[in-house]
Subunit: 96 residues, 2 copies
């Protein structure tokens, strides 16, 4: 499996809007086993996204899906930056 743990910053005051966009745009992605969008409880603009895919190719292919492309276009103006992105190799667990 292929995993990502990312920390993203929304433009000030835009986090709820960005979270809603991300949740709406990430349904029905082939090979996606888990995609969780979370708020940071300390920093009001920070979002955590944790992802598990069957393989890296599925993740790359998802970026070309029309719905994901549309979400990226809508989200870009309210993303202030990407603080970190860590690749992982998920082995297993609950909910996969």
């Amino acid at each position: 499996m292929f995993g990502l743990i990312g920390r993203m910053r929304a433009s000030p005051g835009k986090r709820d809007e960005l979270v809603a966009l991300l949740l709406d745009g990430t349904e029905a992605m082939p090979g996606c086993l888990s995609y969780v969008v979370a708020r940071d409880p300390v920093d009001a603009d920070t979002i955590w996204i944790t992802e598990v895919w069957t393989d890296e190719q599925s993740h790359k292919a998802s970026l070309d899906l029309p719905r994901v492309q549309a979400t990226i276009a809508k989200a870009r103006p309210i993303i202030a930056g990407f603080d970190s992105q860590t690749r992982t190799e998920p082995v297993g667990g609950v909910g996969l």
Copy 2:
């Protein structure tokens, strides 16, 4: 929902053993929506654990489950340290 993103270090050479213990000990935990154990692709001793629970109370209660207690006892000797643990507030996503 209540989330955790943690980075743990196994004793040198013990990561596979620790991953297997964690996966075996974390089945059937009430309130656990996701518990993913992943290897770090760069550091050979590092493990990432990402968790989503219905609420923080469920997470706390899980630490008292006999199976989890047994796992902690078996895992402790091969855990070298905890590098970081971040609390999150999951909002939604795929696989929950």
